[in-house]
C-alpha cells in the first residue's frame, strides 16, 4: 500500500506543475539544473518545478532548505528550538541526517518532544549533534568512507549503496543528497542517538 501511495503522490505532484490553476507552464524541463536526490521517499516530496524542489533548494542556507521538506517539520523546529543554526554553517560544511516526522513520532511522545523543545534544550542540542556530521558529504561519500562521526562524537557505520544507505545498522536514508549551501541533507527514517524511546503507538495524545 505504501509503495502504491508513493507512486501516486509523485504523479499528482508532477501533474501540478503543468496544470496548476489552469496556467500553461513548461513541465520539469524548465526547472533549474537537476539535483539528483535518491531514495524511496523522494517521489513524495516536491519535484519538478514545484516550490521546494531539489534544484530550488540548492544553494539555500540549510535551515531555509529544511523548511521546504514537508516531512521534516519536527527536525526543522528542533533546529530552531535548539539555536544550533551556527552548527549548520561550519567551515567545511555539514552533513545533516534528518529524521522524518514519522521517525520522531515513533521515537518520542508528544509530551516528551515538547519537553525537549521547551525545557530540555541542552538534551535537544545533544540529540541534534548526533544527526550532524562535519563536512558536506554525499551519500556515496559516506558509503565510500564506510562510516562517519557525528558532532556528538558518535561513530556511525554506513553500509549499502545505490539509492539508499544504512546508518549505524538502524536507520535508512529515504531521500538523500539534497544540496543546500555548504550542506548535504539526507532524510532518514529513524532517530539516532541514545535518548530513551517514549513514542510509538499511543504517543500521540488524544484531543
Amino acid at each position: 500500500m505504501a509503495a502504491l501511495a508513493g507512486a501516486a503522490l509523485s504523479l499528482v505532484l508532477t501533474g501540478t506543475a503543468c496544470s496548476g490553476a489552469g496556467a500553461e507552464r513548461p513541465a520539469a524541463a524548465g526547472a533549474p539544473a537537476a539535483v539528483a536526490v535518491t531514495g524511496p521517499l523522494c517521489d513524495l516530496l516536491p519535484t519538478g518545478s514545484e516550490p521546494g524542489n531539489p534544484a530550488a533548494l540548492a544553494g539555500q542556507p540549510a535551515e531555509a532548505a529544511l523548511q521546504w521538506l514537508p516531512v521534516l517539520t519536527t527536525f526543522e523546529a528542533a533546529v530552531r528550538a535548539s539555536e544550533l543554526a551556527d552548527d549548520l554553517h561550519g567551515g567545511s560544511g555539514v552533513t545533516i541526517l534528518a529524521p522524518t516526522d514519522d521517525a520522531f513520532a515513533a521515537k518520542f511522545s508528544e509530551d516528551n518532544l515538547d519537553q525537549l523543545f521547551i525545557t530540555d534544550k541542552e538534551k535537544l542540542r545533544g540529540l541534534l549533534r548526533d544527526h550532524l556530521v562535519a563536512g558536506s558529504l554525499s551519500l556515496s561519500d559516506m558509503v565510500a568512507a564506510g562510516g562517519v562521526t557525528t558532532l556528538a562524537g558518535t561513530k556511525l557505520t554506513v553500509t549499502g549503496g545505490g539509492a539508499s544507505a544504512r546508518l549505524a545498522d538502524q536507520a535508512d536514508t529515504v531521500c538523500a543528497d539534497y544540496r543546500a549551501a555548504d550542506a548535504r541533507i539526507h532524510i532518514i527514517n529513524r532517530v539516532l542517538g541514545n535518548l530513551p524511546t517514549t513514542g510509538g503507538p499511543g504517543g500521540h495524545r488524544a484531543h
Binding site: 505504501a2 501511495a5 507512486a7 501516486a8 504523479l11 495524545r205 488524544a206 484531543h207
Partner: protein
C-alpha cells in the same frame, strides 16, 4: 442515487460540467461483478466517487490516474483508497471522497469490487478536472492565497503570512472584521474573523444576538491541518456571492479563530510557549491564550462550535468527532451535539464520501474524555452545542500511509474544510433546534437541580452497524468519589482565595480567581466575609469543578454553602445575610434588606418579593404570586425561568447587567435606571403586560 446527486452541486455551472464529466452510458455489455454507474462529483479539494454496489463485494478499490485534457494518461494508475462497509451508514449507495491531489488537476478514476482478496473487473473510467482553489485569479480578494496554497502544501502558513492574509481579507471584504481577542504568552496576536452579511454586527453584544457559531482552528501547534482549512474557508465566506454563502451570512455571524496557539504553531509544539497543553486549560484559564478565548465566548456567545485537531491513529476513520460528554453538560446540549454528529455529519459523510466516526473510531479514545479542561467539555458546560474534530494524520485501512507529505496535508485540510462547511449548513438548518437546546440547558442549569459529577462522561452507544460498527468510545462513567449528590447552593471564597496572587500561569501574566471567574462570566456576590458564587446561574455545571474541594482540577477549595430554607416557611421572610431557598414554600412576603443576598431555586413564594439595596438576588425556577421588585442591588441580579403573577420591576441596580430571561410574567416588566441595561442572553421573556424602558426588547 437521489441522495448523492443532491450533493455539492454548488452552481448551474458546476452541474453543467458534471454532466460533461460523468460521461455517457457505456454501450458495452458489463462483465460479471464489474462496478457500474460510477460518477465523480468535484468538491472543494476532494472528488466524490459514487457507484452502484456489486452483490457480494467485501470492499472496493479506488484507482486514480493523472490524465491530460484528451484523457490520455500522464502517469501510472494508482490505488488511492479502499472503501469498506463501515465507512458509511448506508451501504446501498457507496461513496468515497478521493483527496490529497493538488486541486485543479485532471484525473481519471475507476473503481473495482473485491471478493475477499480477489479483485473483480474495474468500472468504466470517469475523468474530470478537480476544482481549483476557490477564487478567481483576477478578482481582488478572491485571488488571495495562503502560503500553504502557494507552496502546494510544502509549507504551512507562517504567523506573519497569516496576519498578512487575514488583514488583506479584512481590508477587502465588507463582510469581515478581524478582531484581536487577546495575545499569546509571547505576545503574538490571537485574531478572530467576524463574518456577516452584508456586514458583521458592530459589537460583540450585537454579534451575540445573531446566534453566532465558532470554529477554533488550531489549539495544538503541531496539528496545523484545520487551520489551513479555516483560512481558505474564510476567504470564500468573505468574497463568494453564491446563494449559499449569502444565505448563511445573512442569518448569523461566523466566528473563526485561526490560531489561538500562535507560539506553539511557530515552534511546532503541542503546548504553548510554557509547554502547557491549552486543551487542558479551558476551565482553569491559567494561560493568556485560553483566558482570551473564554472571554471571547462570554462576550460573543456562540451557540455552536467545532474544535479542530489532528490524530495519529491508524485505526480511525477520516474524521473522528466527539460531543461534550461531561455529565454536568445539560442533556439537551449533549443530545443536540450528538444529533449534529450522528444525525448530520454521518449522513452527509455518506453522501460526500468522507468518514466521520466517533472519537477513536475503534476504541482509540484512551484519554481526554470528561476533563472539563478540554474545550469540547468547557463549551458544553457553557451551553454551546459542539464537537471536537480530529483529522486522521496516519495511514489506515482505507487511506494510504503518506507520512507528512503534501498529499496527506491536503487530504486533512480539505476534510476539515468539508466538516466546517457542513457545520455551517447544520447551524443554518437547525438554528431553532440549537437555540432551543441552549435555552433548555440554561433553564436547567440555573435551577441548580441534579447531582454534580466532577469527572465522568455520558455514554455514547455504538451507532447501528455497519457504521462505524466496531467500537464506540469508552464508557468513562463517573467514579463514586467523583459524584456529589448533595449539591450546595453556592461556594464562598475568602478574600485571599478570590483576589490573592496565584502561582499558576506564566510569570508576569498570572490572573486572580476574580479575573478568571469574570472571564467566564460567572456571577459573584460580595458578602460581608468573602465572595459568594451561587450555582443558580447558566454555567452551574462548571462552577463546582472550579471551586469545590472535590474537584479534580480545581482553582480553589471554596466553602460549600447549603440552603437555609428548604421546607415550608410561614409568614414574612426577611433576608439580611445570605438566605438560600431550595424547593421551599414561603407563605408570605420576602423582603431583602440592604446588603442581603437572596438565592431562590425551585421555590414558591406568596410574595411580594422586595429587594432594595441587596448585595445580590438570584431568583430561578421559582414561582412568585405577587409583585417582584429588585432595586438598587450592588451586585448581580439573576431572574431566570421565574413565574411571576404580577408586575416585575428591575430598577436602579448598580452591578453588571441584570440577567432577566425565560420568565413568565403576568404583569408588566419595567426596568429603568440600571447602570447596565438588563439582558436576556437570547432567552426571551413571556410578559403579558408591557415591557418598558431598559427591558422593552427582552
Amino acid at each position: 442515487m437521489r441522495d448523492r446527486r443532491t450533493t455539492a452541486i454548488l452552481s448551474v455551472l458546476l452541474a453543467a460540467s458534471l454532466a460533461a464529466i460523468t460521461g455517457p452510458t457505456p454501450a458495452y455489455a458489463a462483465e460479471p461483478n464489474q462496478v457500474d454507474g460510477l460518477t465523480v462529483t468535484q468538491g472543494d479539494g476532494y472528488a466524490t466517487l459514487a457507484w452502484t454496489p456489486v452483490d457480494g463485494a467485501t470492499d472496493y478499490q479506488i484507482e486514480r490516474t493523472p490524465v491530460a485534457a484528451d484523457n490520455s494518461a500522464t502517469g501510472p494508475a494508482v490505488i488511492t483508497g479502499v472503501w469498506r462497509p463501515n465507512r458509511q451508514i448506508n451501504n446501498s449507495s457507496p461513496t468515497f471522497a478521493d483527496a490529497g491531489f493538488n486541486p485543479g488537476t485532471r484525473f481519471q478514476w475507476r473503481v473495482r469490487a473485491r471478493f475477499g482478496t480477489t479483485a473483480q473487473p474495474y468500472s468504466e473510467p470517469v475523468s474530470g478536472t478537480t476544482s481549483a482553489p476557490w477564487g478567481e485569479p483576477n478578482v481582488p480578494g478572491e485571488n488571495l492565497r495562503t502560503q500553504w496554497e502557494t507552496t502546494l502544501a510544502a509549507q504551512y502558513t507562517s504567523d506573519v503570512e497569516e496576519y498578512a492574509y487575514t488583514k488583506a481579507i479584512d481590508d477587502l471584504s465588507d463582510r469581515v472584521r478581524v478582531t484581536e481577542i487577546g495575545k499569546t504568552a509571547l505576545g503574538r496576536p490571537i485574531n478572530m474573523f467576524v463574518i456577516g452579511y452584508p456586514t458583521p454586527p458592530a459589537t460583540p453584544e450585537a454579534v451575540a444576538a445573531t446566534s453566532p457559531l465558532m470554529v477554533n482552528c488550531n489549539v495544538h501547534g503541531n496539528e496545523p491541518g484545520d487551520r489551513e482549512g479555516c483560512l481558505i474557508m474564510a476567504r470564500k465566506l468573505a468574497f463568494s456571492n453564491d446563494a449559499r454563502t449569502i444565505d448563511l451570512l445573512s442569518h448569523t455571524t461566523v466566528l473563526i479563530v485561526p490560531t489561538i496557539n500562535g507560539d506553539g504553531r511557530a515552534a511546532n509544539t503541542r503546548g504553548n510557549s510554557t509547554g502547557q497543553d491549552l486543551n487542558r486549560d479551558y476551565s482553569l484559564i491559567r494561560q493568556p491564550e485560553t483566558f482570551s478565548l473564554v472571554q471571547m465566548l462570554r462576550d460573543y456567545r456562540p451557540i455552536a462550535g467545532y474544535d479542530g485537531h489532528e490524530f495519529g491513529n491508524s485505526s480511525a476513520g477520516d474524521l473522528p468527532m466527539l460531543p461534550p460528554r461531561h455529565q454536568n453538560v445539560a442533556q439537551s446540549i449533549f443530545d443536540e451535539s450528538q444529533h449534529m454528529i450522528e444525525g448530520h455529519m454521518y449522513t452527509q459523510g455518506a453522501k460526500d464520501g468522507w468518514w466521520p466516526c466517533p472519537y477513536g473510531c475503534n476504541g482509540g479514545g484512551n484519554v481526554g474524555l470528561s476533563e472539563e479542561t478540554i474545550l469540547r467539555n468547557t463549551l458544553g458546560l457553557k451551553n454551546v452545542v459542539n464537537s471536537l474534530l480530529e483529522l486522521r494524520s496516519s495511514g489506515g485501512t482505507t487511506r494510504p500511509d503518506e507520512g507528512n507529505t503534501a498529499n496527506n496535508r491536503r487530504r486533512k485540510t480539505y476534510s476539515a474544510m468539508w466538516t466546517f462547511n457542513q457545520f455551517l449548513d447544520y447551524h443554518r438548518a437547525n438554528l431553532k433546534e440549537i437555540t432551543t437546546a441552549r435555552a433548555d440547558a440554561i433553564t436547567f442549569q440555573v435551577s441548580n437541580t441534579g447531582r454534580i459529577v466532577f469527572r465522568g462522561s455520558r455514554p455514547i452507544p455504538a451507532h447501528p452497524a455497519p457504521h462505524p460498527g466496531e467500537a464506540p468510545p469508552p464508557l468513562d462513567a463517573p467514579r463514586d468519589d467523583l459524584i456529589l449528590d448533595n449539591v450546595p447552593c453556592a461556594y464562598k471564597l475568602t478574600e485571599e482565595q478570590y483576589n490573592g496572587e496565584r502561582t499558576d500561569g506564566p510569570a508576569g501574566q498570572r490572573t486572580t480567581v476574580a479575573q478568571r471567574l469574570a472571564a467566564h462570566g460567572h456571577k459573584v456576590v460580595k458578602v460581608a466575609d468573602g465572595y459568594l458564587v451561587p450555582l443558580a446561574q447558566p454555567e452551574r455545571g462548571l462552577i463546582p469543578l472550579l471551586l469545590d474541594g472535590q474537584g479534580v482540577e480545581k482553582l480553589v477549595d471554596g466553602e460549600r454553602v447549603y440552603p437555609t430554607v428548604t421546607g415550608k416557611h410561614n409568614g414574612q421572610l426577611v433576608v439580611s445575610g445570605v438566605t438560600c431557598l431550595r424547593d421551599a414554600t414561603v407563605t408570605g412576603p420576602v423582603r431583602v434588606r440592604a446588603g442581603g443576598t437572596l438565592i431562590a431555586t425551585g421555590s414558591s413564594i406568596t410574595g411580594p418579593v422586595d429587594a432594595s439595596g441587596a448585595a445580590g438576588v438570584f431568583l430561578t425556577d421559582t414561582a412568585v404570586d405577587g409583585p417582584v421588585r429588585i432595586a438598587q442591588t450592588s451586585g448581580p441580579v439573576v431572574v431566570v425561568d421565574a413565574k411571576v403573577t404580577g408586575p416585575v420591576e428591575v430598577s436602579g441596580n448598580r452591578g453588571e447587567a441584570p440577567l432577566v430571561a425565560a420568565n413568565t410574567v403576568t404583569g408588566p416588566l419595567q426596568c429603568s435606571g440600571n447602570t447596565q441595561a438588563p439582558v436576556n442572553i437570547g432567552l426571551s421573556n413571556s410578559v403579558e403586560g408591557p415591557k418598558s424602558d431598559q427591558c422593552a426588547s427582552l
